[in-house]
């Protein structure tokens, strides 16, 4: 099925990704925590913003879940939804990139690894970008880069602050060099935002690595991170192979990265909305 046909069929389904309300956790009534291995009642987990009530492990969120958790009810208006990746290199490993794109779209109920739009948080307007790891590991290709650049340009137009939640393994290899260029494109857009003194808050979630961390994710006026998220440039396996020694405990985790000066605030998901509001108010008011 070509992307275009897919679009037609899709239309009949639902317009936006963010209307989904169900949290995306395998299992039904009970779920086992990845960290403490304890059984949690799914309802409790959802009520707790998908943070384990026993050990505070932060489960990954879909973009839709994040939007519900963070924005004022019904305030989110998606922009540039229907930009779709293209297999312009005819790139094939075990599958063709074209097939991967299609499969990811159908599986994730998203068009690519980021959802962007305008929203309100505590009644303050924001330009919001939220990556979704479930779409090809949150990898950044042309679509992610383009949507971020457009989001920032819209923020410039609307004089709104920008918040981007990242969750990404890095560049999308199937787009070759073009994925690398998205680092330049998104960072340049942030440069323009900065020159115009519009605030940018980056929120890094598990994981934020590679080309994503080495571009827009690290460039916040304020860099926030969820606890225990993997944050770094090179992946831990690459580093271990290079240096042929074990990595120190906690290496590349939010708290460790904060100690090394790269993160302003490591923030539990349950305080995230409040802290974002505080920052927005601080920027907004005299």
């Amino acid at each position: 099925m070509s992307i275009h046909n897919w679009f037609k069929r899709k239309k009949a389904q639902q317009e936006t990704a963010y209307v989904r309300e169900r949290l995306d956790i395998p299992g039904n009534l009970w779920v086992k925590c990845y960290k403490c291995n304890q059984a949690i009642f799914t309802k409790d987990l959802e009520d707790n913003l998908k943070v384990c009530p026993k050990c505070s492990y932060h489960f990954k969120l879909t973009a839709a879940e994040r939007i519900i958790q963070i924005t004022d009810p019904n305030s989110f208006k998606e922009i540039n939804q229907k930009i779709v990746s293209k297999d312009f290199l005819n790139f094939t490993d075990s599958k063709s990139y074209a097939q991967r794109i299609e499969k990811s779209i159908l599986k994730s109920n998203l068009y690519d690894a980021i959802v962007t739009g305008l929203a309100k948080i505590s009644n303050l307007p924001v330009a919001l970008g939220i990556m979704d790891f479930s779409f090809m590991g949150g990898s950044m290709g042309s679509v992610v880069g383009e949507k971020i650049a457009r989001l920032i340009e819209l923020a410039l137009e609307k004089k709104a602050p920008v918040i981007i939640f990242s969750s990404s393994g890095g560049a999308r290899m199937q787009e070759g060099i073009m994925s690398l260029m998205q680092m330049a494109k998104t960072s340049a857009a942030l440069g323009r935002l900065r020159e115009n003194s519009l605030p940018y808050i980056s929120v890094m979630t598990d994981p934020t690595t590679g080309g994503t961390s080495a571009s827009f994710a690290m460039l916040g006026d304020v860099n926030m991170a969820e606890p225990d998220a993997l944050i770094g440039f090179a992946g831990p396996r690459v580093i271990e192979q290079t240096i042929r020694q074990k990595l120190p405990p906690g290496f590349q985790r939010s708290e460790y990265v904060q100690e090394h000066g790269m993160i302003d605030v490591v923030c539990d998901r349950r305080q995230l909305r409040e802290n974002l509001s505080k920052f927005l108010r601080w920027f907004d008011e005299r």
Binding site: V84, S94, M173, A184, G191
Partner: protein, 322 residues
């Protein structure tokens, strides 16, 4: 000649025989037994022709080999060959001086410029000292410091790109490799001076881009530029690093491919067989290319330069939209 012979790559082996014959001819000739100068000349011609033939049908992975050739001229080689009055500037004023990324002031045909580039070695010892051209965060921060000098004093910037990638080490991560590269990208976009980047060898991912956001991005004929090394790509996507050849082909990493994709602006010709066969010649080609590309940029205002660079990178990306 000996050097060139010693440093032949796998696919250049057919040349070895010709080089041997050439040596013999020369020996005979110099022993004075008979005048073989015609034959020597002919053999040299044959070698050059074979080199040319080999160049034409190079596979991407063969180009990778040339781009990584241990004798390939480095940034400091080109600095010496095509610039004058160079003084190296050291240090990031923060933590250290990174020998894997060199920076300095110099003159290009009388024009004051800032120059920077990754620095590899030509021997194992040199390579260890230079960390194989893999910069740490302090390298990128030094580069940024020097770019700001360029900006403050309104001098163009030239960057030479030749790195397997930014160094993936514990200290590099701790000191913010991602932050250092990201900041450079943002700041390069805002530079008010002409900026030309030249991929001279390996353009390794973020480590390359970290000093590579020129108004013009040029590439030497046998250099590569890629989001991940062919080996890395193969080991992740094909689960087999040995399939690097396929990965190299699939990712489109040669100068020709990248020109077609619109990611680079121009290919700089190399001497037959690659820059290492004639660094002086290669430097001449590079110098001409810089001068040609710099000229129109020097006429632009600060605003125009920023807009030019913004638009250049803003355009990059291929996607479908409904």
């Amino acid at each position: 000649m000996k050097d060139k012979q010693k440093n032949l790559l796998g696919f250049e082996k057919p040349l070895a025989e010709l080089y041997e014959k050439l040596d013999e001819l020369k020996k005979v000739s110099s022993a004075g037994e008979m005048d073989m100068s015609e034959e020597v000349k002919m053999m040299e011609k044959r070698i050059e022709n074979m080199r040319r033939d080999l160049s034409v049908k190079l596979s991407p992975i063969q180009i990778v080999q040339i781009a990584r050739h241990i004798q390939r001229p480095t940034t400091l080689d080109y600095v010496a060959l095509l610039l004058t009055d160079f003084i190296e500037l050291h240090g990031d004023r923060n933590f250290g001086d990174d020998p894997a990324l060199v920076t300095g002031i110099a003159k290009l045909d009388g024009q004051s410029v800032i120059v920077m580039g990754h620095q590899k070695g030509k021997t194992t010892k040199e390579n260890i000292a230079r960390n194989f051209g893999m910069a740490n965060p302090e390298g990128y921060r030094k580069a940024l410091r020097i770019m700001r000098i360029a900006e403050r004093y309104n001098k163009p910037i030239i960057s030479f790109i030749d790195t397997p990638g930014a160094y993936p080490g514990i200290g590099a991560e701790e000191r913010g490799q991602a932050e250092a590269i990201a900041k450079n990208l943002r700041e390069m976009a805002e530079l008010t001076v002409p900026f030309i980047s030249i991929v001279t060898g390996e353009g390794g991912s973020g480590g390359a881009l970290g000093i590579g956001m020129g108004n013009k991005v040029l590439m030497l004929e046998f250099s590569i530029y890629s989001v991940i090394s062919p080996e890395g790509c193969a080991s992740i996507l094909f689960r087999n690093a040995a399939r690097a050849n396929e990965a190299a082909m699939a990712m489109k990493i040669t100068a020709k491919d990248l020109l077609e994709l619109g990611v680079i602006d121009e290919i700089i010709k190399e001497p037959v067989g690659g820059a290492h066969n004639n660094p002086e010649q290669a430097a001449t080609y590079i110098k001409s290319a810089i001068i040609k590309n710099l000229k129109p940029l020097l006429a632009l205002s600060h605003r125009e330069l920023i807009a030019d660079r913004y638009n250049k990178f803003r355009k990059m990306g291929i996607f479908e939209e409904q």
